[in-house]
Assembly symmetry: C2
Homo-oligomer: 122 residues x 2
Amino acid sequence: MARLKLKLQLYCGDEIAMGPGKADLLEAIAREGSISAAGRAMGMSYRRAWLLVDTMNRCFNAPLVETHPGGGKQAGAKLTQEGEAALAAYKALSEQVEHGVAGAGHQALEAAIRREPLPARS
Amino acid sequence: MARLKLKLQLYCGDEIAMGPGKADLLEAIAREGSISAAGRAMGMSYRRAWLLVDTMNRCFNAPLVETHPGGGKQAGAKLTQEGEAALAAYKALSEQVEHGVAGAGHQALEAAIRREPLPARS
């Protein structure tokens, strides 16, 4: 049975304000309490995690993540009220969309796809 | 207003059997009549276009694209009946999903996103 994967992305200009990876990062920050620990838990560098947070903070009306005074790599971080709300709204929307993917089109397409691909020709 | 973008991907094992890029490539092959011309029209190399076609052909029960005898880079290509059906089903499913994305979650999230991001700190 083919697995269906939905990626829901919200753009702000040419930048992605919110998507699956950013939502996962927000969850990790809420759980881990810092950007560096969240990045580590997701297997990404501190720089990459920081850039994703910076993009979100620049794209939303209010920052989604706030770092404790002092800043830098060791500083703690947490979601703002707006961050909690944006994450909850994104997750609700994603579930809503996934539920919308029932129907004939889906079944027909899945039925036409193999369980595993044939091997690539070498 | 934030733009919403949905990517619908169907997996076969670890490979993507069908997604936005592969659907666009199928449309281009149907229009251009060859893999190389379709790749050119999409700004991708012949090798990249060929690999995407090969993945689709290995993931579906029947090949989606057939090349005319003789093969190679100059050979013509067209969608099989299964290719036409898979493309139509994917497009129908994508539209269905996009229509499913109305509702409160969407509005609240869009309202929280700026029209353009704030400039990045240099």
